[in-house]
Amino acid sequence: MSTATVSRGIATGRPPAAAPIVVGAYTATTSVGVGIAALTEAMRNGRSGLSPCAFRPFPEAGCQRLDTAVGEIPGLDDVRLPSALASFDSRNNRLIERALPADGFAEQVARARARYGAQRIGTIIGTSTSGLLEAERAYFRRDPQGSLPVDFHYLDTLNLAGTANFVARRLELGGPAFCISTACSSGAKSFAAAARLIRLGLIDAAVVGGCDSLTLTTLHGFDSLQLLSRQPCRPFDAERDGISIGEGAGFALVERAAAAPEAGIGLSGWGESVDAHHMSSPHPDGLGAELAMREALDAAGVAADAVGYVNLHGTATRANDTAEGIAVARVFGNDCPTSSTKGIFGHLLGAAGAVEAIATMIALEQGFLPGTLNLTRQDPSCPNRVLAEPAELAVRHAMTNSFGFGGSNCSLLFERRA
């Protein structure tokens, strides 16, 4: 019997800033299907998961039918959570429950847990809705006095803690667990936050990602902003008329490079900024977006012309695509291939950054660049080179952009380590 020394010593200086962060495993579930294989197939073939909106969370309420396309994941209502985690039951967490086992992600995390110890793996998840639909349903079930039903578990569903804690409990992780909620850039920011904690040595790995599910509030809220497209969204098209909301979840295991093989995908840089312009519309010249992209390049020490592909935020609103196109062209020039994958699974809001980061990683690993669905004629006001069709092209560095309400921007730069 030996006495284990648990002290790890006092950190006297900062860990080397260039400690590479790698992505050990990832998975994504969207309206095109569960797992990476379905997403890859959809990206290669230009298959879309968007369909006319038939989302009716409580039909007896007589939900108004919205004239828009959504990326709804079928069968989520049939998912059952483990009984020990029953209080977390919400559409968002059911989506997580469906997404985590795909592609052997949960097993990969279990192996990492065995490698590092549960407390050395953090859980940082981006979400904007969390269990909002559960709250809407609870409000619908209020008793005559106006009280919420007792089976509505606020902290485990509506509160942001519900999402992070569910992932942590589901994967039995003991490190810091919290949610980042900066609207549509949440999922991307979770990568940056985890990488910082890993570089500081506080944790060795983290499960990051994002998860957002459909709610009435988001559908009707975007409708009130007149940002919902009547048909599947057409990013960067001259005729684009708004977003298509989808639901989805994407998770990745980011870890210190030393513990991972010299292969796979590395997170080489991240950049965050704020527009400081308006709560719900982007800066018209994309100043904040440009700052984020340049910061990511600087952090990684990668020149702009070394980046072979940019996965755009590309929501298909008039304002976003123009501003983003201008900003991307300013940073990467007019020839860098770019595309928006939102035509495939829609705008996943808080999960968009995570799922699109995974789409970018798929492109890096599989050596092809996804196209932009529904793009027939590029808007001349967007000077960047937007790929309409998938292109077989292996690139080394690829960036993904995510911009959200409150002017919150995040750009992640990934690298194929081969």
Partner: protein, 688 residues
């Protein structure tokens, strides 16, 4: 795992019980008592926002911006270039409630503004817009552990960016019915500016964050209910143990519960604090409590509730005017200030108010049972002294005593007590007639005084301005005229039989700086004194200056006016005393509450101490309650009130022996109680 240390450059705080970090720090040191108020105060307007946005700013936005600007100001950093981390359990529970309510009831028309304000990072967005800040900003949520998670993220950012990062945590109560399922109480917001080690700048403290798997050390619970509740029922309030350590320069580790996964429970946050002292104002004395600071609160029915208080001011809500706020000067610690426009002189660094109390001086054996006055017709007792002592740092001290009267309450009429003999109908008729007459006389007196003041202001003051040329003599001339008018007015009242008036003692010679202090039982006390001492200056309260009938007269007479703040009052009064004027002061600040012992404000003791002026005590005794604070003017007493104005010999510094008590006072303006040895017939022709 221990993180590298980070430096704390500034703290901002706003809560229901503290409007800023210095106030909260005093509370956390146990020097001030956090008092919750009803209704809860509204967070300050987010004044960095353009007016249109400011108006619509949510509670979360207001909270976040208020504390962020305070912390940035203390750190001396520009809000336009600092990265930020905002954290909250839920940043807009009210909007979430409204949206859920609308969605569940089929009302799908959402306001676009409400929708974009519903996102968790909307306060962060408004902060960036208001500051024009394009740096990275993250918004975090982790339920009850939001603040700790945010602190961790902030430390990670500041270390990886190697520059200061702003941390803002805010949480406030949930609306019904959400609060049934999530009990968050109060409004709390805390901001901190963290910087990497070695950052050049004023450092408040150094923090070391550590993530450990052991259960957290249980923090000492907060004794104060407001803080105890916040530390358990408000996610931001959970930072209170850390804030307490900061406030007390405590270097023991503080544990904040972190968002827990399946296994890990807590990382303590060790606060290793530099010995550097906090900048900021001196705190009040540790021993002071609210009741000591504001004796009225305990003894008087006038104050219902204390709204807020700090070193210089107690704001309380009065009973008689529930909608208005009475500001009481409560000067626990005096900052040395100089009267404006006067040459600097040597002031003691601080003057501490030692004690103020009401006592039945010299009559300790006399309770209602044995007090012969208790059976006297007026049921008044001239036996109560109010006392106020103030001692300067240099050892000088002044004691002011004001003797008043205490009207004995109805409880003195005990069952066994003999009832007065039955009056004859004739006596009764005469009494009723007399009372009616005095009622009419009182009403005429009010009207007459108003006309007199107005006429004085409109006629006499212009005449004085036009014809009394040496400006220095103008006020003196006007005061002579006013004094004569008041003498005439009071004489008329006595002639009419409304009151009876006696003067006793020699009025003090007021040819040098003298503080004439008197108790203040009725509305007409000042008139009685001005009639005999026309050259007295006095302090006119702001409301009198706003009275159109009196404004001109007050201006012409050169009476001291102030803007309601204690400081302006003391400045003006000190200036007048330095010019050798005699100043009439009612140390109670207002009329004596009926039935209560006099409670002295500290201002007069402070004036006496710092001006080294003489003190001339005056006792005004009235046999019946007339024109008191509590009673309406038309409730005239059954008997004719007899006023006795007693002038006591003035005492000047250096001429009187020490006050025998525990202060080494250079002079004490004290009067002996209950002695009527020098009573003599007043020379006033109108007195009987």
């Amino acid at each position: 795992m221990i993180m590298p240390v980070v430096q704390l450059l500034g703290v901002g705080l706003w809560s229901d019980v503290a409007p800023d970090w210095p106030s909260a720090r005093r509370q956390l040191r146990g020097l001030a008592l956090p008092v919750a108020t009803e209704p809860a105060p509204r967070p300050p307007a987010a004044d960095i926002l353009p007016p249109t946005e400011r108006r619509r700013a949510t509670t979360g936005t207001r909270l976040a911006i208020a504390v962020a600007t305070e912390a940035l100001t203390e750190a001396g950093l520009d809000g336009a270039v600092i990265p930020s981390v905002f954290t909250s359990s839920a940043s807009n529970p009210q909007i979430i409630h409204e949206l859920c309510d609308a969605m569940s009831s089929g009302d799908y028309a959402i306001s676009p503004t409400r929708f974009h304000n519903s996102v968790h990072n909307s306060p962060a967005g408004y902060f960036s817009i208001g500051m024009g800040n394009r740096r990275a900003s993250t918004s975090i949520g982790a339920g009850d552990e939001s603040a700790a998670a945010g602190l961790l993220e902030t430390a990670a950012q500041t270390l990886s960016l190697d520059e200061p990062v702003l941390f803002v945590s805010f949480d406030f109560g949930y609306p019904y019915p959400l609060l049934e399922r999530r009990d968050v109480r109060g409004q709390w917001a805390v901001a901190m500016v963290l910087a990497p080690p070695g950052f050049a700048g004023p450092v408040v403290a150094t923090l070391q964050l550590e993530w450990v798997a052991e259960p957290p050390a249980v923090a000492t619970p907060f004794a104060t209910p407001a803080l105890a509740e916040a530390s358990t029922h408000n996610p931001t309030g959970r930072l209170l143990p850390l804030l307490r350590a900061l406030a007390n320069d405590d270097t023991a580790p503080v544990s904040l519960r972190m968002p827990a996964g399946a296994i890990c429970r807590s990382p303590p946050v060790a606060a290793m604090l530099h010995a550097r002292r906090w900048r900021g104002r001196r705190p009040v004395e540790p021993s002071m409590r609210v009741d000591e600071l504001l004796p009225h609160a305990g003894n008087s029915r006038l104050i219902r509730r204390i709204v807020s208080w700090d070193e210089h001011r107690i704001e309380c809500e009065g009973v008689r005017r529930p909608t208005r706020t009475i500001r009481c000067a409560a000067m626990a610690t005096w900052k040395p200030w100089r009267p404006s426009n006067t040459a600097p002189r040597r002031w003691p660094s601080t003057a501490r108010w030692v004690r103020g109390r009401a006592s039945q001086a010299g009559l300790s054996g006399l309770g209602p049972r044995s007090d012969p006055d208790a059976r006297a017709p007026g049921r008044h007792r001239d036996a109560v002294a109010g006392e106020c002592r103030m001692r300067a740092d240099d050892g000088r001290a002044r004691v002011l005593r004001v003797h008043g009267q205490q009207r004995l309450g109805a409880d003195c009429q005990r069952p066994g007590q003999r009832q007065p003999a039955r009056r004859t109908a004739r006596v009764n008729r005469r009494r009723v007639a007399g009372r009616l007459w005095r009622l009419i006389g009182t009403a005429l007196g009010f009207v007459g005084f108003g006309l007199l003041a107005l006429g004085f202001g409109l006629l006499v003051v212009p005449v004085g301005i036009l014809f009394v040329k040496p400006v220095g003599r103008r006020a003196a001339w006007l005061r002579r005229v006013a004094g004569a008018s008041m003498r005439g007015f009071v004489g008329t009242l006595t002639t009419l039989g409304v009151i009876e008036l006696r003067y006793e003692g020699t009025p003090p010679a007021i040819d040098r700086a003298t503080l004439v202090i008197a108790n203040h039982p009725t509305l007409i006390d000042a008139l009685l004194l001005f009639g005999r001492l026309p050259q007295l200056n006095c302090i006119a309260k702001p409301s009198l200056r706003r009275n159109p009938a009196l404004a001109l007269a007050i201006h012409g007479l050169g009476y001291i006016t102030h803007d309601g703040s204690t400081r302006s009052l003391v400045d003006a009064a000190t200036a007048a005393l330095e010019q050798g004027e005699a100043l009439l002061v009612f140390p109670e600040g207002t009329r004596t509450a009926e039935g209560a012992a006099p409670m002295l404000q500290r201002t007069s003791a402070y004036l006496a101490l710092h001006s080294d002026c003489g003190v001339a005590p005056v006792t005004i005794h009235v046999t019946e309650p007339l024109l008191t604070r509590e009673s309406a003017w038309w409730r005239v007493p059954a008997r004719r009130p007899i006023f006795t104005v007693r002038f006591h010999p003035p005492e000047h510094p250096g001429t009187e022996p020490h006050d025998g008590e525990n202060t080494n006072s250079a002079a004490a303006g004290s009067i002996s109680a209950g002695k009527r040895s020098f009573r003599r017939k007043s020379r006033c022709p109108t007195a009987h």
